[in-house]
Symmetry: C2
Subunit: 316 residues, 2 copies
């Protein structure tokens, strides 16, 4: 199969490319930065058969050129996005351009070229829905998104849905729940798992907000499930891809202390954050049924592997 992965340098994108290539697909990826193995659009490249293109999905011309020069594609995994709640609040211009306009650019090309789209959404679309997050909740209950990042993800789902209704495009949406693992490079805007580990390994203090519960999904599990979509593609389906074991943020922090051996005095505790979902419980029965989703790694195992990777990457 010929596959394009947008956002190929991101945590999920990079993991997904490896998985898809291990299944012998022809995978091209694109992202914002220059890379050694990138295509030279107007010049001769040194690397043979480059499979990466520099492309900002928010710029239609750049995206269209990837399809013209590297396509056609049977499937497009659209991972490219500004990620995270506070990142979205602090960089909202970039958020709306990349996520809303970028995804619309992808859809416009899909309407023309008819590839199948797998779009990455987020558990954030569920807002502060207090009960079990089943996919159908979003079709049955009035839910308001609590931040601009969440809104862009919900907007994308509606854009995709409207295009399917109006132009017959074929797409699948996956809603990822707190995915972490090797490949997630630290920034203050990353997942809480990544941030706590980074702090622990660098002897930096971190803050635990009390009263929030989450599941965590280890990247390798996410990536395997999502790669399976190209083998059992059901247009217009939406899948939760997440973990099942609920843990508090306090418990996560304790796992971090355990796997890193960091000083417990680094941890500070605060009351719950405003406009942040208190409890996220996810129903993954649909992705288990259609995509063979499973959670093979315990939180302790996954965090141990991530810590090992982080020590290498940051040379600790």
């Amino acid at each position: 199969m010929r596959i394009l992965v947008t956002g190929g340098l991101g945590t999920v994108g990079a993991g997904l490319i490896k998985e898809l290539r291990s299944r012998n697909h022809h995978v091209v990826s694109c992202d914002l930065h220059h890379q050694p193995d990138e295509i030279g659009f107007s010049l001769r490249t040194d690397v043979e058969a480059p499979l990466y293109a520099r492309c900002d999905v928010g710029e239609f011309r750049q995206l269209e050129r990837v399809f013209e020069r590297c396509g056609p594609f049977d499937y497009v995994y659209h991972c490219a996005a500004e990620f995270g709640r506070w990142n979205g609040e602090d960089f909202y211009e970039t958020l709306w351009r990349t996520n809303a306009v970028g995804t619309k650019n992808v859809i416009r090309l899909q309407e023309r070229l008819k590839f199948r789209l797998i779009h990455f959404s987020s558990s954030e679309v569920y807002g502060d829905w207090p009960e079990l997050m089943v996919e159908s909740v979003m079709d049955e209950y009035e839910i308001k998104q609590l931040n601009d990042y969440a809104m862009t993800k919900w907007v994308n789902e509606m854009q995709i849905r409207n295009s399917a209704l109006q132009y017959g495009t074929e797409s699948v949406v996956v809603r990822l729940f707190n995915t972490y693992g090797p490949g997630e490079h630290y920034s203050p805007y990353r997942s809480v798992n990544c941030r706590f580990l980074y702090c622990a390994l660098h002897n930096l203090p971190w803050t635990v907000f009390r009263g929030h519960s989450r599941t965590s999904t280890y990247l390798a599990d996410t990536v395997r499930t999502v790669a399976n979509i190209s083998e059992n593609f059901r247009a217009s389906e939406t899948y939760n891809v997440g973990g099942t074991d609920l843990h508090t943020i306090e418990e996560l922090s304790n796992v971090v202390l355990h796997v890193t051996g960091a000083d417990p005095r680094l941890v500070h505790y605060q009351d719950s954050e405003i406009l942040t979902t208190k409890l996220k419980r996810v129903d993954t029965s649909k992705s288990r049924r259609d995509l063979g989703h499973k959670n093979s790694y315990s939180l302790a195992d996954g965090m141990k592997l991530t810590a090992d990777w982080m020590k290498q990457v940051y040379r600790l």
Copy 2:
């Protein structure tokens, strides 16, 4: 009162400025284009006491400068927006930048400067809600917006709501229903009232989609009601501002034929449009109660006045 009207060159903005000035408010406006009475930011202006500033609300620096040079303001009427369903589909980059980023820019300044915001939303947020459109419907039922324009308007409402929750900003939202009248310059993306009149006056054919019913609101009624908000401001309220007499698009077209005397053979009929709301009935009891909203013009009277204005503007 010191008031800023963004989008002051638009149909609603321009009408609103006139109304607010007639009530002796100090009104500054901004919009995308140069104007004779604009402020020279870095040069001496010829016109005395200019009350217009060129400003793209999607550019934070330009917007901030309006507040620094022309403020402070007690109220901001935020009319600036890319308008209309098909306009949004055809110019989606501009739509998301102006509407999502532009409104976020306004909100960020509001969080800092604490002015009261009156934001213009649209009946489009109600999607294809088949029953009476009451404001509270959006808090009670799951509704998906049917186009990107509608999504930006709903996003704006959530952005405003989240800012109120998180930072205590004070805002009122008005959802306008099919507003028409003198001041609405023709483009193919404008209201159906404007388009039919323009075609009739220029001997151009027009298409009537069967099976759609709408109300129309005459601009003078909209503007009076909206101006009243600054005199009875209730933070976090949302108001429908619309007409009450339901008419089909066929009936509207017949009114156009009547007030212009155009040839009935100019009219073509087609079956209903996909992804367009079939029936829009609006409940305006809340704006009647709080803002003294009323519909003083029948469709025939309003269309006659609009036709007269159009004949002048286009020198017919």
